[in-house]
């Protein structure tokens, strides 16, 4: 599938997001419709991909200085320019790093714009700061996760510590984290762009992720004779897929290999991951046979979602200022962050609702910023 005809767009947002997106393009080694987005023009140095500088006169390409609000406003300013890059796009994948200003703030505004204003399904792959990073970055990250999860069709938030397991050197750890995430997203991209016998094209993916909510995401690759079992074992033990809960309503499993992919291997993987993460979940399987990219290897991409897409398919463009028709609570409304200054106060309960949480959040009122 050519870059020109694709209805999928890869967006790198913020400094880390641009790095990850550029790495995905390298790994994919084929045409990917890409857009790099940042408030700092240094992220675009030596890039062959289209770039969009947010904030224009407001920030003059100097970055958002770690300010979420600056980045959100910069993104708001640049929505017109963003729209020009979205012709024909039906599914957007945003890769980003939370903790700074642009990755946290602009991602939220862009995801909201894509999904609510343009009806483009939006998947966010985001990294969370290392545990040792300063409180300000963690606060940025914590505050924006529920907001991004609310506006994105599906979202994944992976802690850098988990992506860069067992590496002590800071630079190497960061590089490893970016590499791990980029590799996983690249496999995900191949799954859609190079469908095999069990197809998963972008339109099907679009429907699958709409309303899928927050998810967990990991990929593994093995090459020897017992590769299917090793894939299942690795996925079963993956720290990236474990969050201490068994809240999995649906899962997507992609199996990617060369021409030597056997049916027994597919069955072993499908059965193994369902046993590991819930036999009652909605299970979607897709395969890719690509001898050029996967000769002799077997890769598995696994996505676990906390919602079932079949239950939550909704109209993506509610009227401006109208109340959402979707049932279920706003993620921020259900979180302690939603209580703001009343976080440590005894709640005021009326009709079973905590009135300390902003009304517009509890009533799922969409604000026209």
């Amino acid at each position: 599938m050519s870059e020109k005809s694709s209805t999928m767009l890869l967006m790198g947002v913020g400094g880390a997001g641009c790095r990850i997106a550029r790495r995905i393009v390298e790994l994919f080694n084929g045409p990917i419709k890409t857009l790099l987005v940042d408030t700092d023009d240094k992220s675009f140095d030596n890039s062959d991909s289209p770039c969009l500088l947010l904030g224009g006169e407001r920030l003059s390409g100097r970055g958002a200085g770690g300010e979420i609000v600056s980045a959100r406003m910069a993104a708001e300013d640049s929505m017109g320019a963003l729209d020009k890059n979205l012709a024909g796009i039906r599914l957007a994948c945003i890769v980003t790093g939370l903790g700074g200003g642009t990755g946290s703030g602009a991602t939220y505004e862009i995801a909201k714009h894509l999904k609510q204003k343009l009806g483009i399904a939006c998947i966010v792959f985001a990294t969370r700061p290392f545990s040792f990073e300063g409180e300000a970055r963690h606060r940025n990250s914590r505050g924006m996760i529920p907001m991004i999860a609310e506006v994105a069709s599906a979202s994944f938030f992976q802690q850098l510590d988990k992506l860069a397991q067992n590496i002590d050197n800071m630079e190497q750890a960061m590089a490893k984290a970016i590499e791990t995430l980029a590799a996983s997203v690249t496999l995900f991209w191949r799954l859609i762009e190079k469908p095999g016998y069990i197809r998963l094209d972008s339109e099907k993916m679009r429907k699958l992720v709409q309303g899928a909510g927050r998810g967990r995401f990991a990929s593994v690759t093995f090459a020897d004779s017992d590769r299917a079992r090793k894939c299942v074992d690795a996925l079963s033990d993956s720290r990236l897929l474990s969050d201490g809960t068994n809240n999995v309503k649906s899962m997507l499993c992609g199996v990617l290999a060369g021409d030597d992919l056997r049916l027994s291997e597919i069955a072993q993987i499908a059965q193994g991951v369902q046993i590991a993460y819930g036999t009652n979940s909605d299970f979607e399987l897709a395969t890719v046979n690509d001898e050029e990219s996967f000769s002799g290897t077997l890769s598995v991409v696994l996505m676990l979602f906390e919602n079932s897409p079949k239950e939550t398919l909704v109209a993506e463009k509610p009227a401006r200022g109208s109340r959402k028709t979707r049932s279920g609570k706003n993620a921020l409304a259900a979180s302690p962050q939603g209580r703001g200054r009343f976080n440590n106060s005894a709640p005021t309960i009326w009709r079973g609702e905590d009135l300390d949480i902003p009304t517009y959040l509890r009533q799922n009122i969409i604000l026209d910023f």
């Binding site: 407001r58 920030l59 200085g65 300010e67 979420i68 609000v69 600056s70 959100r72 406003m73 200022g321 921020l332 939603g338 703001g340 200054r341 009343f342 106060s345 005894a346 005021t348 009326w350 009135l355 300390d356 902003p358 009304t359 517009y360 959040l361 009533q363 009122i365 604000l367 026209d368 910023f369």
Partner: protein
């Protein structure tokens, strides 16, 4: 002789101290007041005694400075306490006595009044007030003055308004640290109602809504008596917090937006109003930041409508939703929220006015509805002083 009273309100947003003066036999006048931003108070409850005490110290110093500037000197020894918060409850209680003779005598009335005070309260509750609603003789209710009427049993319906004792004691402790003794704790909402209502309004049916920073209280009157009263722990601070959450601002910026730009009605501002609202107090880089007025008003409107829903429910429970012939009277600092009066009018279908305290000394002030509760407390003190002139300790202060 000039009677001097002091009243203190440790509110969520502001701590207010007011002095009332009345030469014997004359109307009470609010002679001096001071208000400072509160610390250590949230949702009308003290969370940090030392911070609250500091607020009380500051407000005392402020009022003493104002008095000195007027060439007067005053030491405030004690003050009546205005109390608010969701912990305050009002329970109905009926006292009754058999009528000793064939018609009701003054002694019968005193006896039934005494009987009506006997409602037991749990240890952790402190009684703020007993509000008389109406007398009834046998099954004949709604009697205003039963003296001389015939019957077998005289009854008196009352409301016992009570609060969490610990919350009152916290206020006493905070004031004590500032060397201020607190006298009777008084319920803010009925104080406000006493200050702004006349007898006609109480007779014809009305609702007083006291909009505070941390809570919203209401008192519904009909047939000259209190029909229902209550407090919900949601107030102006919640509107501020909603704005701060929606637009990722500081609380101070949100407060500024609320008072300067926001309206409880979406689309209420005139056509000349800009669709974007500037956000003050940002660094140079962010001086340009604006937010959508529509979104701002949507946030405020959603919160205000929810508060109105709670008030509507209170009216329905009291079967008063179509009987507010004298309308709605808004008091408290939150009453100044732009568009709130119009929203109440639309949603509850009653006329709305701002409650002006029936007390002298506020002639040059704007938004006097914010002084309603503290004025009511001073009026209470004066009323009780005049009835019990021997109680010198009622005096809130004395001139040097």
């Amino acid at each position: 002789m000039i009677n001097i009273y002091a009243a203190l309100e440790i509110g969520t947003s502001k701590t207010v101290l007011a002095i009332g003066e009345a030469p014997t036999g004359q109307k009470l006048k609010l002679s001096c007041w001071a208000e400072i931003p509160s610390s250590g108070v949230r949702k009308s409850q003290i969370l940090d005694i030392s911070q609250a005490a500091q607020s009380v110290r500051s407000v005392i110093r402020e009022i003493e400075k104002k008095q000195l500037a007027k060439g007067d000197s005053i030491t405030i020894g004690n003050a009546f306490l205005v109390v608010n918060g969701q912990h305050i409850k009002a329970d109905p209680f009926q006292g009754s006595v058999p009528i000793a003779r064939r018609t009701v005598s003054s002694e019968d009335i005193e006896e039934v009044q005494q009987s009506a005070t006997t409602m037991p309260l749990p240890r952790d509750r402190e009684r703020l007030d007993i509000v008389e609603r109406a007398y009834s003789i046998d099954d004949f209710g709604g009697v205003a003055d039963p003296k001389g009427m015939a019957g077998r049993i005289l009854k008196l319906d009352t409301f016992h308004i009570h609060a969490e004792a610990n919350r009152i004691n916290d206020a006493r402790t905070a004031a004590g640290e500032a060397h201020l003794e607190l006298r009777d704790p008084l319920f803010a909402v009925t104080c406000a109602a006493d200050a702004v209502l006349d007898e006609t309004e109480k007779r014809d049916g009305c609702m007083v809504i006291d909009c505070g920073g941390g809570s919203t209280g209401w008192a519904i009157y009909s047939d000259n008596g209190l029909v229902a009263t209550g407090v919900i722990g949601v107030g102006g601070d919640h509107i501020t917090n909603d704005i701060a959450t929606a637009f990722q601002t500081t609380q101070a910026q949100a407060e500024d937006l609320k008072t300067r730009e926001a309206s409880a009605i979406v689309g209420a501002t005139g056509e000349d109003a800009s669709p974007r609202v500037h956000l003050a107090g940002f660094s140079t880089m962010m001086d340009q930041r604006t937010i959508s007025r529509h979104a701002l008003n949507t946030v405020v409107n959603s919160r205000c409508r929810e508060i109105v829903d709670i008030l509507r429910e209170a009216l329905e429970e009291a079967d008063m939703q179509h009987r507010l012939h004298s309308g709605i009277i808004l008091t408290g600092g939150g009453a100044a929220m732009r568009g709130l009066n119009e929203l109440l009018k639309r949603e509850l279908g009653a006329n709305v006015r701002f409650g002006v305290p029936n007390i002298g000394g506020l002639e040059d002030e704007n938004h006097t509805e914010r002084f309603a509760a503290i004025s009511g407390a001073l009026l209470y003190a004066h009323r009780n002083y005049e009835q019990k002139s021997f109680l010198q300790t009622l005096f809130g202060g004395f001139r040097k």
